[in-house]
């Protein structure tokens, strides 16, 4: 599934057949191949234990790769210790040194590089202004709020002007509102500075909002690496379809394939058309994936795919109404109805027709 362009000049970070095992029995990362271009914002997204953080730690140099090679700027870095890699890093709990002030924290990487006092002060001042905390230099990290600590951590990873910055779930400890605000700020910093960012998170919204490309991890393998839009609209397999956004599942069997459209017989006997994505041909068992907002209630008769469903539950959410239906034996089928003034009244227990465009329904690998 991963893109691979060995030796391509524009690849800045490259994982080549990287494997990682902690105990010699289980592979946490299985044959990882990944290219990241300079200036790109790539997010490693996946549930916990999927190997994403391990990949980041290997890139930072804190964990050795069991097999394979990691390249930075076309230079193999497996043998380079973390302090020689020149990679900025933002840690999950910020890891701000509690015994130093904010300014001292920020000056630390500059001191290590033997920069003059004057230049240190200048850079610290500039970076504090960048994260909008110009007055906070004299404070201790413990005197800052979570969001401020977060900004200092970002500033510290950027102050020595690395070309590559790694972020390990940096927003995990913040509340929802602050998290959203910080997402935009980090995104803007990335755009302004042009640094390459590798970002690890298990929060899909975060991944979709911020990234140029997202690598979805599961079970030590990249399931799909593509832009947020492609990830949502063209999932390559059922895992990605379910992991990203909301998704309706319908199980069935492929009856016929014509080009990239296939006819699928649902388990209750109805026939529908779906885009062929991850099925090989006639007779294959498949799970169809449908986004709730792409399903239409009471569609015009011209629709190709029209089946019936029973409304089980209505949930009023303001901008839309969530309709839970029983469709082809699946009573978790969700349809989002936009809350417009001309919408028809709905009632629980009603039987309604639903329809969708064939391209919006993806025939993927079967999920039990």
């Amino acid at each position: 599934m991963s893109t691979r362009s060995a030796g391509s000049d524009d690849s800045y970070v490259r994982f080549e057949n990287v494997q990682k095992s902690y105990d010699g029995e289980v592979l946490v990362v299985k044959d990882l191949n990944l290219d990241i271009r300079k200036g790109e914002f790539v997010t490693m997204l996946g549930p916990s234990g999927s190997g994403k953080t391990t990949c980041l730690m290997m890139l930072a140099g804190f964990e050795p790769a069991t097999h394979g090679e990691i390249f930075l700027n076309n230079r193999p870095i497996n043998a380079v210790p973390p302090n020689k890699r020149g990679i900025g890093m933002v840690f999950q709990n910020y890891a701000l040194f509690p015994h130093m002030t904010v300014a001292e924290n920020l000056a630390f990487p500059l001191q290590v590089r033997g920069m003059s006092k004057f230049e240190q002060e200048d850079r610290v001042k500039r970076v504090l202004e960048m994260v909008e905390l110009p007055q906070m230099g004299g404070r201790r990290p413990a005197q800052l709020s979570g969001g401020q600590q977060q900004r200092v951590a970002v500033a510290r990873a950027l102050v020595f002007e690395p070309d590559l910055v790694l972020m390990d779930e940096p927003l995990g400890a913040l509340d929802k509102q602050l998290r959203e605000q910080m997402q935009y700020e980090i995104k803007h910093i990335h755009e302004n500075l042009g640094v390459t960012v590798v970002y690890v998170t298990h929060d899909q919204t975060e991944a979709l909002t911020m990234s140029d490309r997202v690598a979805v991890f599961e079970d030590g393998v990249i399931q799909q690496l593509s832009s947020p839009q492609a990830l949502y609209e063209d999932p390559q397999n059922s895992f990605v379809a379910q992991f990203i956004g909301e998704n309706n599942k319908l199980n069935g069997t492929v009856e016929r394939v014509t080009k990239d459209i296939c006819d699928v017989k649902l388990d209750n006997g109805s026939m529908v058309k779906a885009q062929k994505v991850n099925v090989s041909g006639k007779g294959d068992r498949t799970t169809l994936s449908l986004r709730p907002e792409r399903v239409e209630l009471d569609p015009p008769k011209s629709h190709k795919n029209v089946i019936e469903g029973r409304i089980e539950e209505l949930i009023y959410l303001g901008d839309h109404i969530r309709v839970r239906m029983n469709v082809a034996g699946n009573d978790e089928f969700i349809v989002k109805v936009r809350n417009r003034s001309d919408r028809k009244p709905l009632a629980e227990g009603e039987t309604k027709t639903i329809g969708w465009a064939s391209e919006d329904c993806k025939a993927l690998d079967l999920v039990a």
């Binding site: 930072a60 140099g61 804190f62 210790p81 973390p82 302090n83 020689k84 890699r85 020149g86 990679i87 900025g88 890093m89 840690f91 999950q92 709990n93 890891a95 040194f97 509690p98 015994h99 630390f108 990487p109 290590v112 590089r113 510290r156 990873a157 020595f160 790694l166």
Partner: protein, 424 residues
């Protein structure tokens, strides 16, 4: 804000009473109950700690032996101005008091007590008193001074009378002088003791120096162990922790005796050295019954007190700090020195303080393995309390030790800050 709040700066409750007063009233009961709960401990500390220490401080200054044995003389001699000799009237009272005391069998009021007391000041003068007391009854008429000189030439020595005047005062500094190797001369001015009798200050310095050495060795050994304990996986570190705590569960005597078996001339370590050919059989090393033995066994015994505070602090330092430092370009050593080490200082401070204060007052181990060379100040204190029964001197030494510890603690507080300590 209500009108009431606007009219004055004091916040008031709804009924108009000041808020602070109201708060105090509602929490008073709670505070009282909390106080009540601590009473057993408070009483225990008063009985077992405050009173004994107060008693010790008092005894080091107060010694009524002189006035107990010779009450009339004690009063009379104070009128003597120290010129020439005391008047014959005063000496007459002295002779009478001695004669009375000789008949006295009451504890603490015998001539022997007075003799011992004066003997502290003028070593070797004990027999003068016992001898004189025996014959005091026979002296019936003056001049009394001549009569005394007839019994013993030493009564000619004015210093004896000066000393008598001093020891019959109830409150005296002479035990503190003795404890710091000083004494009064005949003119009541403070001079250093004779070279032969200067023992306490050297031992005090040695105690401080050995305690510092023991503390330092403990720190050097404990730091890596604590680090290992804090970084290993839980199962392994628990096992290691048991090994660290094992000495706590063994009797102090057993542990110290084990060191004797290890370190003595015919002991295990020497045998191994001889067997391996490091040393010849005739050159076995003396490692016990001297300062070396004291240091080795005390480092072993006090080690857990260093490891535990260090461990408790190190455990709270997430590994991400070191990683962060390294990701910013710091070498392992620099990351340790600038990031890890400073954060362990509260643990170091606590461990160092704990071990040093325990070491400076340690008694059993040096007594068992110290020989003559490895004795510490507490062994001398014990000696005065238990054997020579010079409690006042023991108390003075104890007080000096207490003051030394307090002064060191004060300096330490200036350097590290006590609120920076973390015992775990």
């Amino acid at each position: 804000m209500t009108d009431a709040a606007q009219s004055s700066d004091v916040l008031v409750a709804y009924d108009g009473t000041p808020l602070k007063q109201q708060l105090a009233k509602t929490t008073r009961r709670m505070k009282f109950r909390a106080l009540l709960l601590t009473m057993p401990l408070v009483l225990f500390i008063i009985v077992s700690f405050v009173l004994p220490i107060g008693d010790m401080l008092f005894r080091s200054l107060h010694n009524p032996t002189g006035s107990n044995v010779a009450p009339n003389f004690a009063e009379a001699i104070q009128k003597w101005d120290g010129e020439d000799y005391p008047s014959d009237d005063i000496i007459k009272i002295f002779v009478e008091d001695l004669a009375t005391a000789r008949k006295n069998r009451e504890v603490g009021k015998t001539v022997g007590n007075l003799a011992t007391r004066v003997n502290y000041e003028i070593p070797g003068s004990r027999s003068l008193f016992t001898k004189t007391a025996r014959r005091a009854g026979k002296i019936t008429e003056g001049p009394y001074l001549d009569a005394l000189i007839k019994i013993d030439k030493k009564w000619e020595n004015k210093n004896v009378w000066v000393t008598l005047k001093r020891v019959t005062r109830d409150y005296t500094l002479s035990f503190y002088l003795a404890a710091t190797d000083r004494k009064y001369d005949e003119n009541e001015s403070i001079v250093r003791a004779d070279e032969l009798y200067r023992i306490y200050l050297p031992i005090l310095w040695k105690t401080i120096w050995l305690s510092a050495l023991i503390t330092f060795l403990c720190f050097i050994i404990a730091y890596p162990v604590a680090y290992l304990l804090s970084t290993l996986p839980l199962r392994t570190s628990n096992l290691l922790m048991i090994l660290v705590l094992l000495p706590f569960w063994t009797s102090l005597l057993v542990r110290t005796s084990a060191w004797i078996a290890m370190l003595q001339k015919e002991g295990i370590l020497n045998n191994v050295f001889v067997y391996l050919g490091f040393i010849g059989d005739e050159h076995r090393i003396q490692m016990i019954y001297n300062a070396t033995g004291t240091v080795i066994s005390m480092v072993h015994i006090l080690l857990p007190f260093m490891i535990l505070p260090l461990y408790s602090v190190m455990k709270t330092i997430p590994p991400s700090y070191m990683r962060a430092a390294k990701s910013m370009g710091a070498s392992n050593f620099l990351a340790f020195r600038r990031v890890y080490f400073p954060q362990t200082i509260p643990g170091i401070a606590a461990g160092v303080l704990l071990v040093f204060i325990l070491a400076i007052g340690y008694y059993i181990t040096p007594a068992l393995v110290g020989g003559n060379d490895g004795l510490l100040i507490s062994n001398l204190i014990a000696n005065h309390i238990q054997r020579t029964l010079n409690w006042s001197l023991g108390a003075a030494l104890g007080t000096i030790l207490l003051v030394v510890v307090l002064v060191l603690y004060w300096i330490y507080n200036k350097l590290v800050g006590v609120d920076n300590l973390k015992f775990g």
